[in-house]
């Protein structure tokens, strides 16, 4: 085994997020493949079952949110007969999802922008400016990336309280930046590392300042990684619940994700069977993730695996 292992030791690419899509290689390998195909039939049916279960939430949300509650109560497992837009309207106004949507958009947009800027800045000296302790700083970044912030929710909340930032956009945004930027610094420093130092030398030779070299050389070359980081950060922060619940305790400051989780606490919506309204709320919450998924599918999957440590 070790002989085979040595022919391609420790294949790299964990860090770099530009190359290598997770799509399998195009060439098919011969030898015994015909036999494999037949034995794969049961496995194929299992895959189809699994895949069906994963499309189901999308179908459920789409179908249930546009049918009347009465129609849903008649037979939840049937095809809808009575269609309506009322559920979406209810969730939007009575459920205050219009306010939540604004909160979510604002918090996620600002936080994502800050995460990208802060990470892009911080990764630069870690790769391009030799200084004492740079290795320790990188280790600290990785440690912060691994060690869960959610366990520290109580003291983090207390810090936010001390700063009088509870139920403010600033409070949640700052916490979100602190949650996401270790990952950002890590993947951006990996992507900077693929940039030849000589390019920087050339810029310095032309008399560019360090910051100018950073903006004009590093940033454009790291653009694909920056884009991946943007999409991934926006997605994960949009879906975040714990800190959003804890920091945004004022009802009018809730984000969409928190609004969905607390939907049953709204007496106007918790009727006998509010599932269609709930489905509409789930749909409203999932619009952005789903659009990101449809547009940036491959860069999301690449970014998610880019964090994989050795």
């Amino acid at each position: 085994m070790s002989v085979i292992g040595r022919t391609r030791p420790e294949s790299g690419g964990t860090g770099h997020i530009e190359p290598e899509s997770p799509a399998p290689a195009r060439t098919r390998r011969g030898g015994g493949r015909r036999r494999v195909r037949w034995t794969l039939i049961p496995a194929w049916f299992l895959l189809v079952l699994g895949a069906a279960s994963m499309v189901l939430p999308v179908l459920f949300i789409l179908l249930t949110s546009f049918r009347t509650p009465k129609d849903y109560a008649r037979d939840p497992a049937s095809v809808p007969r009575e269609w309506t837009l009322d559920n979406v309207r209810q969730a939007w106004t009575v459920g205050h999802f219009n306010e939540y949507a604004v909160n979510s958009l604002w918090v996620v947009a600002v936080a994502t922008l800050l995460v990208v800027v802060v990470s892009a800045l911080a990764a630069f000296p870690l790769v391009f400016i030799p200084f004492r302790g740079s290795q320790a700083a990188l280790t600290a970044v990785i440690a912060l990336m691994i060690l869960p912030a959610s366990i520290m929710v109580v003291p983090t909340f207390k810090v936010v309280l001390q700063l009088q930032l509870q139920s403010t956009y600033t409070g949640l945004i700052l916490v979100y930046v602190a949650l996401s930027c270790p990952f950002g610094i890590y993947i951006l420093s990996n992507s900077y590392r693929a940039i030849p130092l000589e390019l920087m030398d050339a810029a310095y030779l032309d008399g560019a300042s360090q910051f100018k070299a950073f903006v004009t050389i590093i940033i454009p070359l790291a653009a694909p990684s920056l884009r991946t980081l943007t999409v991934l950060t926006a997605l994960s922060l949009w879906n975040e619940l714990l800190f959003s619940l804890v920091i945004m305790q004022a009802p009018e400051m809730r984000t969409l994700t928190a609004g969905v989780a607390l939907i049953n606490s709204n007496p106007q919506l918790s009727g006998v069977d509010n599932t269609p309204v709930l489905a509409a709320a789930l749909g409203l919450t999932s619009v952005l993730p789903f659009v990101l998924y449809l547009i940036f599918n491959s860069s999301i999957s690449r970014g998610m695996t880019a964090g994989a440590l050795k």
Binding site: P24, R29, P155, L197, L278, T305
Partner: protein, 312 residues
Amino acid sequence: MTTTRSGDLLRRPRRHPTSHAPHRPSGILRALPYLIPALAVLVLFRVVPVFYSIYLSTNQVPDYGPSKLVGLTNYRVMLDDQTLHAALKNDLFLLLSFPLWIALPVLVAVLIHERIWGWRVFLAVFFIPAVLSPVVIGMYYTSLLSFNGPVNQTLTNLGLESLTRGWLVDLHTAFPVLLAVWLWSITGLGMLFFLNGLGNIDPAIWEAASIDGAGWWARMRYITVPLLRPVFEFWSIFVMILVFSGLFPLVNTLTNGGPGNKTMVADLYIYLTAFTGGRFSYASAIGVVLFGLVLVFVLVQLHLFRRGDRGT
């Protein structure tokens, strides 16, 4: 790029006799301006809380007035806290389901890598739960499995009325359902990691093996699995951290720990203790212990894997 980074760093800047010698700026003072924004926010919201939690856990801190030192009382209370024990036991059970949370993503990844018929569709579809919020997943399954929900309705329509139950409130089914939903929600992400690992293996190795007469299972057993080891290691650490600290959004919306703590998990318990029960000091103590637990687990796992590296 053939040169390694460390080589670049060690190389002295070349001196050009002509004007404008390239000068690579170095030193902490040049680095600091770029680091300060990250440093400020990380210290304030990630590092300070870790130390603050130790203070909070050993002091009774009222909303107004001075705090009172309570020492290790909170830690002693933990020893008899049945709910906490239930939460840790459930976390452990989820971890012990590792044959499932390893086999399922590997199976899907290998089949997609083998370009099974329709692999593009499978690749796109298995990825959906990784994009949806765990909150959406939790609420979706709550509706699906509620007493009057589609699952029970389907069972009734099939004449299996005896099987209908409140899946998420039944003492016997709540935890198995949580396990299933959790596996369902992480399989796609695991698949991505393993696909990435499979993509990093040189196809020539499989070719050589099959020329030597190795069948599909033999190639799987002796080539694919050993070469995927770094991914197995990463995935197990990832899942371990997820189980102890990332289940809150899913479980909060699915069962909120019930019935009778059957689905209580550690991070949900911290949240409920602090923000429903108002016991911030005690919740901090649990956080400290859990943080230490995760830290030790990560270090042990890294150490085990490192030793495994030397073994082969």
